[in-house]
């Protein structure tokens, strides 16, 4: 799109529960500086944070790319993880395959994809077993 005002790129570290949330936190700060309203910041923060967590818990990290334009924020999360065998099941509220370690830290509520679907205007998931998953979310402003 020609009206993109800014693009952001982050590497999401594998298995690093201590840095998860950095990409979404930085993105939120950039959007705040650009003057987007609080509700847009909130929706982007929730959707992107959930995606980041999923990449750390289920895949071996990955990349997060953000395209910011006046009318929409597009977030693309790409990993080379195991893929999602049953997307329909994974989308269900409360369904989780998170590890005990992740659960002990307060993750694994089975709300990740559900929240992403709720707070993004568009959610597209492309996944292939053994190859990886790409999640594309659009949040309209």
């Amino acid at each position: 799109m020609s009206d993109i005002v800014k693009t952001l790129h982050y590497d999401v570290d594998p298995k690093d529960f201590d840095s998860v949330g950095e990409a979404s936190g930085k993105t939120k700060n950039v959007l705040r500086q650009l003057g987007f309203p609080p509700e847009v910041l909130r929706r982007v923060a929730i959707a992107m944070y959930e995606g980041e967590i999923n990449m750390v818990i289920h895949a071996n990290g990955g990349t997060a790319d953000v395209e910011i334009s006046p009318k929409q924020i597009k977030i693309t999360l790409k990993d080379n993880g195991p893929g999602i065998p049953d997307i329909e099941k994974a989308m269900q509220k409360g369904y989780s395959t998170a590890s005990e370690e992740a659960r002990s830290l307060g993750f694994g509520a089975g709300m990740g994809l559900f929240n992403m679907d709720t707070y993004a205007d568009e959610l597209n998931i492309t996944t292939k077993i053994g190859v990886g998953t790409t999640v594309e979310m659009i949040i309209r402003t």
């Binding site: 201590d18 923060a45 944070y49 830290l105 307060g106 993750f107 509520a109 709300m111 709720t118």
Partner: protein, 109 residues
Amino acid sequence: MTVSDLINKLDLKLVAGADGLDHAISGCYICDLLSLVMSNSSSGNVWVTVQTNINVVAVAALTDAACVVIAENSQLEPIAVSKADKEGIAVLSTHMTAYEIACKLKDVL
């Protein structure tokens, strides 16, 4: 009411994030599951939890929580203390349970 006022009224201990002491408080949310906190808490809330890892600070920052109250004398992890100081998220500690905190908050908020 600010975070400073809350510390005085409920006899809480500041363990990190002194730059957040002047944040205004509007309501409370209690939960230990981060996805629920992300989704259901509101800006300006006091967030009460027994989670103590660094992700608590990340979620508090993302949701614009006024402050975090760690219940039952749980100890915030050192790496989380550093992040809370950096982000200016006030983290408070108390011996009270989440229920006891909620009862007291009802009287002061």
